[in-house]
Every structure is written in structure tokens, then in C-alpha cells.
């Protein structure tokens, strides 16, 4: 195999700033306020529509607040500056370390959901029944959200899930699995989405080799995945086995993963796609944020495994308490890794919930509830970031060792005002400090 290279990763990009007339800018804000007034006359839609509209304001004037208040933007154009002009920077708001994150990112959430629907309408065209490959139940609320979101998308496309397995030879009635596919025309196997297509966790990838060898006549599709290989022999083995299936389509959830698929998998005759993470099928759930009472100021949702980066490490023990921010303000916090938090209501003696979808839904909702109970979230989990964005809760994001967090963020969510990227826990606490200095965030 030739031409093997490590995948390349995104670097934050700073864009040139552009100048607009200050007085006209103020007029614009005034007119937008007028328009929100008009919207509010539509009593039943006012809350949602005005919320969306306000978000557009944030989206389309990404750094206006910092330009007005901190004066840190600098002009890179050579032209002279008019007396009444301010500068509106077009750099991505989530890299701005001079302002704290704000509430909501509805339009980018909705755009990702729509893209998932429109892309999978094509990917799963004429498919009416599927078996899913890669089912697993853990306490990880992100895994649960992925499972539920897969079901939401399939149902959106009128598709019924029949059988689910993870291994050909373990915890799986493979004959029943095969029988369901045979019984239904218009059926396919869909590989679960997530972060397991890599050569570190060498478990799900080889299990797919066996599945594909066993079902050469069944179309195999995939939900969006991160792709990460560093070992040429394992990549080679994967390309050989995947390439042997005559009707395989793979879907990446971030640009570096997609580029890697294009470079290595596409030449094997494999159809490759790029879509957002499946969890965006939850769509805009600002209602959960609004309907959940706040229990603590800061939630620290932190990996506790080998994927933790140096920067994300912290002396803070898991649990609840108070901490003092760099500004001197004392806040309440809770620190967890949500894969260790048992989900209530589904394991009670004599009342154990048996439904796979029901169990996953309860866990995903527990995850959303944890995030929505917080005024501010610090996380190095990708689905901490994604689910917090679905809710619109202000948060900061640290990368993980496989770089999947910033690869995702750099592809899809870097224009979200509700997130800031930080390099380490010190910066995270600094950002939290700034956040709680804004009066409305303290209550």
C-alpha cells in the first residue's frame, strides 16, 4: 500500500476583518428589534421564531459584541478608518477567547439536522427495512444519544429496524439476523455511527470484516463516523476487507475523516460521504434547556480514560462542591464522567425496562438533563459538545487525544456562539470566570 499518511487536522483560522459604518449598524439593530416586535404579534410562534431570529443575529454578527466592548479587533485592510466606523470581524466566534460563550446555536443545529435528512434520503433510497451492526449498551450517554438519533433518522425515512448485532459469533442470533434480511425486499445493513473506526480500539472494525464477508449480497451503509488510522498494516487489512464488499457506502462525520476516506477507501470502490454527527437528529431542543431547573453553575463532563489530553487533566475530583474562579467568584460545580452515572427508572427490581430503544432514550435524556441543569459546561467529550449545542447551553470544549472533538468542531460548529475552544483547564476556568461576570448569567 502506497501513499499512506496520517490524516491532517484542522487549525483554527482567523479571517480578515471587514469594516461597516457604525451609525448604519446601530440602525440595523434597531430595525431588527422592530422586526422581533412584529414576530411577537404572532403569539403562538413568537418564542421559537424570535429565538431563532436572535440566533441569526448572533450568527451573522459573530464578533460584533467583542468589537464594541473590548476593542481587540484589528483592521488588516489598508484603507483609512472613518470616524463613525466600527469593525466587524468575520473570524469564527468560537475561537474568540476575549468573550464568553452565549446561549443558543439553533440555526446551525437545524442546518445539520436537515443535511442529515437530505443526505440519508439519498443514501437509503428504496430501503425500507434495516438490520443495524454495532449495537452496544453502555452507560455512556453519548452512545445512547447516537442510538436514539439513528432510530429518529430511520423513522423519518419510513424505515423499520429489524435485528441488531455487534459480533457474528457473540451475543447475536446471526441466523435470525440473516433471515430478517431475506424476508424483506428493500433491506440493508447499516453500521452504527460513532468514533470506533480506528486502529486503537481494534474491535468493531474486524467484527465488520466478518459481517461483510457473510453478507456480500446485502447493501451495507453506515451512519456517520470518525475515521482514524495510524498503523499501516491495520489500515491495509481494513481496505482489503471493506473493499471486498460489492455494495458498501461509508460516511464520515468530520472533514479530516472524510478526506481520509476519499484518499484511501474511495479507490477501493467504496462510496464515501460527509455528514454531521447523527446526534443532531435530535434537532433544536432549547425547550429542554428552558424547562430544566438549574442545579449547579458549572458541569465538568470529563473523560476518564486514555483519550484524555494533557490539557484536559485536572486536580479536581469527581463529585460536587464549590470552586473559586480566577475572577475571585465562588461557584457551585459538579464533575462527572457520564459513562459512570447510572440511569434511573430503567433497572428497578421487578420493573426492569427491556426495550433497547426505551433504555437508550432514558440514558440520552439523563445526559441532556445533566447538561441542562448547568449554567455553564466544560467538556472534552465530543457528545458533551454536541448535546450541549443541541440544548444551546454555553460551554467550552477541550480536544481529546484522537483529535475528534476539534475535527468535528472545525467542520460543523465553529460558528456556534454557545461554544468556545480552550487549550486547557486553566483557560476553561478563565472562560467560566468571564461568563459569570456577565450579570444575567449569575442568576
Amino acid at each position: 500500500m502506497q501513499g499512506f499518511q496520517h490524516p491532517s487536522f484542522y487549525e483554527p483560522q482567523r479571517r480578515n476583518v471587514q469594516r461597516v459604518d457604525h451609525s448604519k449598524g446601530r440602525e440595523t439593530v434597531k430595525m431588527i428589534a422592530l422586526n422581533i416586535g412584529i414576530l411577537k404579534q404572532k403569539k403562538w410562534l413568537a418564542a421559537s421564531a424570535a429565538g431563532l431570529f436572535l440566533f441569526f443575529l448572533l450568527l451573522t454578527f459573530p464578533s460584533a459584541p467583542s468589537s464594541y466592548t473590548s476593542g481587540t479587533s484589528t483592521s488588516t485592510s489598508g484603507s483609512s478608518r472613518a470616524d463613525n466606523a466600527v469593525e466587524i470581524s468575520t473570524k469564527k466566534i468560537s475561537y474568540d477567547k476575549t468573550t464568553p460563550p452565549t446561549v443558543g446555536c439553533e440555526s446551525i443545529v437545524i442546518a445539520q439536522q436537515q443535511l442529515l435528512i437530505s443526505e440519508y434520503t439519498k443514501i437509503l433510497k428504496d430501503i425500507r427495512y434495516v438490520n443495524i451492526w454495532g449495537y452496544l449498551e453502555t452507560e455512556n450517554k453519548g452512545d445512547a444519544a447516537i442510538w436514539v438519533a439513528q432510530q429518529i433518522l430511520l423513522n423519518m425515512l419510513g424505515i423499520t429496524t429489524m435485528e441488531v448485532c455487534r459480533y457474528v459469533d457473540r451475543d447475536c442470533d446471526i441466523e435470525k439476523f440473516a433471515g430478517a434480511l431475506k424476508e424483506h425486499e428493500h433491506s440493508a445493513i447499516v453500521i452504527a455511527g460513532g468514533g470506533n473506526t480506528n486502529d486503537f480500539y481494534w474491535d468493531d472494525v474486524p467484527s465488520r470484516f466478518k459481517m461483510m464477508a457473510k453478507f456480500p449480497d446485502v447493501p451495507v451503509r453506515s451512519f456517520p463516523q470518525s475515521i482514524y488510522f495510524t498503523k499501516p498494516d491495520k489500515l491495509n487489512q481494513t481496505l482489503t476487507n471493506y473493499g471486498a464488499h460489492p455494495d458498501l457506502q461509508l460516511c464520515a462525520r468530520d472533514r479530516p475523516s472524510f478526506d481520509f476516506l476519499e484518499e484511501h477507501f474511495k479507490p477501493q470502490g467504496i462510496d464515501t460521504r460527509l455528514t454531521p454527527d447523527i446526534a443532531f437528529m435530535f434537532g433544536d431542543r432549547h425547550d429542554i434547556r428552558l424547562n430544566t431547573p438549574k442545579k449547579w453553575d458549572i458541569l465538568i463532563l470529563a473523560r476518564d480514560d486514555w483519550e484524555v489530553t494533557k490539557g484536559a487533566e485536572s486536580e479536581l475530583k469527581e463529585g460536587e462542591g464549590t470552586l473559586t474562579l480566577p475572577t475571585g467568584r465562588t461557584v457551585t460545580y459538579k464533575k462527572i464522567d457520564w459513562k459512570k452515572i447510572p440511569t434511573g427508572g430503567i433497572n428497578d427490581e421487578g420493573h426492569k425496562e427491556l426495550g433497547k430503544n426505551q433504555r437508550a432514550y432514558a440514558k440520552a435524556m439523563d445526559g441532556f438533563a445533566l447538561l441542562a441543569s448547568s449554567r455553564f459546561v466544560i467538556t472534552d467529550r465530543l457528545h458533551g459538545h454536541i448535546m450541549t449545542t443541541v440544548l444551546g447551553v454555553p460551554h467550552v470544549l477541550l480536544d481529546s487525544k484522537l483529535k475528534k472533538n476539534l475535527n468535528y468542531h472545525g467542520t460543523w460548529t465553529e460558528e456556534c456562539g454557545c461554544v468556545r475552544v480552550v487549550d486547557d483547564m486553566g483557560e476553561a476556568m478563565g472562560m467560566a470566570g468571564m461568563f459569570f461576570e456577565v450579570a444575567e448569567n449569575r442568576a
Copy 2:
């Protein structure tokens, strides 16, 4: 029973116009153009986000185009008009007969979908399994869309559908139906949504009496419905039977229906809600509009039953052909009632599709395809209006005899730029004429 009254209906409301400074208005448009430019730098989200943003422009400046081009707006304020001022009317764009409908209504579609999700999160709290009451399969593409949309919402909430029936004593294994409810804690019966809660079609309502009498211990919920009673004895009978169930919740899909529930059903101890029509669970599907080749200029989707109003009647026979608009332009058209159009691919000999969800999905998608194949739609079907709005196809809406179309439109969609309300087929053709005079709509 006292205080019985016919429900009241919405009348189009004309609002006062407000004045803004012309020069500032232009500056706003310029800035918005700049911002769209910024959005487009985000390659992967640009199409969706810019589309949404453009829609906001339409939404928040509802009659700006007519003010600029036709000069028909008049000021009702007593103040003098500045030289550089234009008037921006805040009347609802869809009643404006001086301008044709435009493409798209994404933000109102999305806001309705979000409201359905947030309301049913509360209505179906702690419910994990449901039986549905009121299943029927017809060729009506609107009924099929309702069925699919119900499944989308239930799956969004992690809920599995077990059994479905319409009558206790016909086409229903009522013991199996009862057994499924008994087998699962956290279960409920949900009555299907739609337009059948009235005393004209006296079929589904009395069938619910029997169901509720048989399951007094099971929570009964409903998907959104139109409510329309004119016969005091039948209303009385309904109130008595519905009121006898100890845990019933009803949901109206338009304001007059909700007001009627509040007045008559709520005093019986029945919980009452107002939400948009369930079909908005499809969300924004502008992708279907964009991906469907256009086959004719005008689709006339017309009821062919007793619900047709005088104004919606027409000499035009069902079928395809050409017609000449009042402007003299000749266009191609197709006229149908989609409950008579057989859906392809699900009834082929030896390959009949048996899945309820699959059959409904195929029919709903056939409905969307009919609408999306058209440059302009004329309809007096409520789900003609709703599904065309989901796609964002420009259209005109006529009322139906039970007034459910304009009741719905007046509650939720009157600010959609993609629809105009007309009184009869003559006005519909006039609106089509105006539409095809806009150069970009002819191709």
C-alpha cells in the same frame, strides 16, 4: 347542556403600517447581504443557513416587496412622511393579493416542528409504549403523511408503537391490543390526529366512546385534531362519553378548535392543548423541492367530495393539459385529487409491501413528489397546504366547507411567504398569472 355555540372562526386581520427610514432600510439589506457572504464561507452549511436567513428576511419584512414595487400600502398614522421614508406594512403577507407567493417558509415550519416536540415531551412524559387508535389506510396522501409524522414524533420521544386499531369490534384484535398495554408499564393509547372529530363524519368519534369505556385505566392522549360540532345532541353525547374517562387529554390543531375544547370539553375535566398539525414533524424538507425535477407549471390539488366550497369549484376536469392564465400566458397543468392516485411500488404482484409504516411512507412521499414536481400549487386540501409549506413551494389556498383550512392557516401559517389565500378559482388563476410574470418562476 347550556351555552352551546358554533365555533367562531378567524378573519384575516389587516394591521397598521409602520414607517421606517428608507436610506437605513437599504443599508440593512446591504448588511444582510454582507452577512450572507460570511455565511457562505462556511461551505457545508451555507445552503441551508443562507436559505433560512433569506427566509427570515421575508418573514420580518413581510410586505416590503409590495411597498417598493406596487405602492399600494397606505399610512394610517397621522404623522407626516419624510422624503426618504418608505412604509413597511406589518399585515400578514399571505393575505396580500397584490403580490404572488414566493419560495420557502422554513422558519415557521421549523418553529411548528419544535413546538410539537416540546409539547408532546410534556404530554407523553413517562410513556414508553403506545397503542394507536384510529389507524386507517387510504390513498389520501395527507392521511399517509399524518401516519408517518405520528411515528416520527413517537420515535423522537423514544416511544414504540405496539398495536393499532380503529374499531373495537371490526378489523381489530382487541384482546391483543389490551394485552400489549397490560404487558408494558408506561403505556398509553393515543388517538390519531386529523380532521375526524366532528359530527358530520359520525364514525371515529363514537368508536372512541367504546374504546374509552373499555380502557378506563389506561391514559388516553390525542394527536392534534380539528374539532367541529354543529349538532347539540352529538356534542352532548361526546362530552358525556369523553368526560367519563378519568385520564384523557385532547389536542387541537387550530385556535377555533382549541377555543371550542376549552369551552366545552375542559369543564368535563379533560386536559386540552393546542399544537400545530402533526405533519410538521417532517420538518423543513426544502431538499425534496430542490431535488425533484419540475413536470408541470401548476398542480391543482382539489377535493372531490362534499367538503368542496362553492369558490373552489371549477370547470377544469382532472387530468393534464395546458391552460391560459388571465395574463394571456399559457402554462401546463395537472389537476388531481390525490386520494384517487394509486401509489407505485407497494402493490406489485408477488411483491406487495405489507408494512403499515412502509406503505404510509411510500404514499406520503408520492404526495410530496406530486407537489414538488410543480412550480405552483392551487389547493383546497389542508394537507395540500401543509405539505406544500413543508416543501416551500409557492401556492394558493382555498378554504374547505368545514373551514379547517383557514382556521389552520390563521393560527399558524399566515406569515408564510409561500402561500396566498384566495376566495375562488378565478383569484387562484389570477395569482398564478402574477406568479409566472416574475421571470425566475417561468423556467
